[in-house]
Amino acid sequence: MPWGAQAYSDASKKVTEAYVPEGKNLKAAWQGIQWNNFYQTFASAIASKTGPAVSTGGGFQAYQFAEQGAIAMADDVVATMKTNGMFDDLLPGVLEGFKTKDGYVALPWQTDMRVYWYRKSLLEKAGVAVPTDWPSLLEAGKALKKIGVIGFCTGSGAGNFLGNHWAVSMLINNGGGVWTPEGDIDVVNDRNQEAVEFMLEMVSAGAIDPGAVGFTTDNMDAQWKNSKTGYGMFGAYLPQRVGDTSGDIVAAPPLTGPNGDKTALQFVNNIMMYKNTPDQASSEAFVIYYLQQLKGYWQQALVGGLPVFKSITELPEFTKDPNAVQIVKDYSPIAKTFAARGTASTANTAVLDGGQALNKFAQSILTGKTDAKTILNDFATGLKAAVK
């Protein structure tokens, strides 16, 4: 899948084709697929038995396909990783989420962190400090708005999920979330209501642009690039993404919620094995090989996520970017996933991530025309209809 520009796909193909299997194991062929409609592509491939033996996957597809009996569990790979030191090299919190009652559905290869960023010159111009908690976030938003830029940059236009991510991250940041620790829906509660009310206040105070609900990621890129916003949430490597590495765009610290919770939100991108394989042992050998080659992606700066292995975060090519180092130090240890307040995801997490309910939830907040209670009730109803 295109996790980066063409150079990433080329590198990924090269890595796969350079694989020399040991013993009786089979060789591997590489296949890239389109980002758009990836679920449709994978589902039709699996259903027609023309699917891959091993793939990276978007969203939470590993959990879904596992529930539908198409995934080969990765427990043997984890066991091998324990013997060759790769297991101990993993950063905290990247593997646990894949452990389901049937076994490990997938293995992590990068994390997509939601990071708060600020533009130093604009915060200085507005005369506010870098936000560390919710009141200072609101204050900074208002101050930035006063100098004519967007106080908090987010969006939920066509194909843009950053608004969804921010909304969930705020629930989690207040000790709330979408699920109980057991994985049942738990949306309408006091902590979540407090969080939604705060987000609505951000909207009504003008800290969030009234057009945000329609902003695409391209709109947001332009806002960051052209100094139209001073603060907001994005993925790692925002400066590189918008082509401004002057040092004016800086990773901000994670926020502390009103009840003292200090959290971050991450998506652990993963690599999975399918039952429809010519030889399972070959699939497993290839996955180990592939995970060992990952460092090249960061050495050549080909991907937009963070590494899952400590050894990669210690490479000189990685440590030369102070933002990346700070994010790994500040965000990684406290990062949670869409499964919060639970830890392991399920097929239901996929429904939350890709479904209509969350998008509507985020858009209702950013539109700011409905009260918190109604928004949460609608969200709960929508989720319940879709979740099995």
């Binding site: 023309t50 978007g58 950053l162």
Partner: protein
């Protein structure tokens, strides 16, 4: 307007028209320019350097990049082949069927015409996955042949009607004469009716052309290997997770626009012939 008319009233109308034509020209010009603003935006964006580029001002680097770094030329030829075959096969299948619909008047023929309509009303998004699974059984997944078959089928209903509508306007006396000369039903269709139906055939061909040239929903599911991509899927490949290489998208889009424009310019004189209108169906 007929030039032989000599009545003063007609001349007055004509004189008024001559004065009015430049005003109408101005009106049409303004409306056309406004209408084409989004197209202009595409052209403009294709000429602007990408955000990571060091170049400023207008540049052709998006075009050179697309042709140098991607399989654009392969995609163009894939698109041309798929579209060409779709056009030929659709016309070859739809023309005889349309003829039967036009000339036959049995209950079977009428119900078939309705069936055509009902079956193609199901949105493509629900049929593309079952089709893929079916085609994979025959080894037609990730194949331009499979894609072409789907396109031909997708054009079938409208193409058949279009042909039928055109045959309606061909007087049956032509065939009757041919039958008397000893031609078979099929022979007269081939040699007499079809020969007189060039505008109808062209309409159907243009319809099939646009449908297969612009489709991306079917191709997205059917095509996997980058060497098999058609142009719309090539454009899709510039969309990555949360990011898009708009410069390349727009450059390839401009390339994509050219063949349909060339086709329309080339066939411009047929536009005044009735029936060509149906050719643009398909979205």
């Amino acid at each position: 307007m007929s030039a032989v008319l000599k009545s003063p009233t007609a001349n007055q109308i004509r004189a008024r028209e001559d004065r009015g034509r430049w005003w109408r020209f101005l009106l049409v010009l303004v409306i056309t320019v406004v209408t084409l603003v989004p197209i202009g935006v595409v052209a403009l964006l294709s000429l602007l350097p990408s955000s990571t580029s060091t170049t400023t001002g207008v540049t052709f680097e998006n075009f050179t990049k697309v042709f140098r770094d991607t399989l654009a030329t392969t995609w163009i030829s894939n698109s041309l082949i798929t579209t060409g075959v779709t056009v030929l096969v659709s016309v070859a299948v739809a023309a005889p069927a349309g003829y039967v619909l036009s000339r036959g008047r049995s209950r079977v023929v009428s119900s078939y015409s309705l069936l055509l309509f009902v079956l193609q009303s199901l949105p493509i998004i629900t049929s593309v996955v079952p089709l893929f699974i079916l085609f994979a059984n025959f080894g037609l997944a990730d194949s331009l042949t499979g894609l072409t078959i789907v396109y031909v089928a997708a054009t079938m209903a409208v193409a058949t009607w279009m042909m039928a509508a055109y045959f309606d306007s061909i007087p049956v006396s032509l065939e009757e004469a041919a039958w008397i000369d000893g031609l078979s039903v099929f022979g007269s269709f081939l040699r007499v009716v079809l020969r007189n139906s060039l505008p109808g055939v062209l309409s159907t061909a243009i319809f099939a052309f646009l449908l297969s040239w612009n489709d991306y929903l079917v191709a997205l599911v059917f095509l996997r290997s980058d060497v098999k991509f058609t142009l719309p899927i090539g454009v899709q490949s510039f969309f990555q997770q949360n990011a898009t290489d708009w410069g390349s998208v727009m450059a390839l889009a401009v390339v994509m626009m050219l063949p349909p424009v060339i086709v329309f310019v080339g066939l411009n004189k047929y536009f005044s012939v009735g029936g060509i209108g149906g050719s643009l169906a398909g979205r």
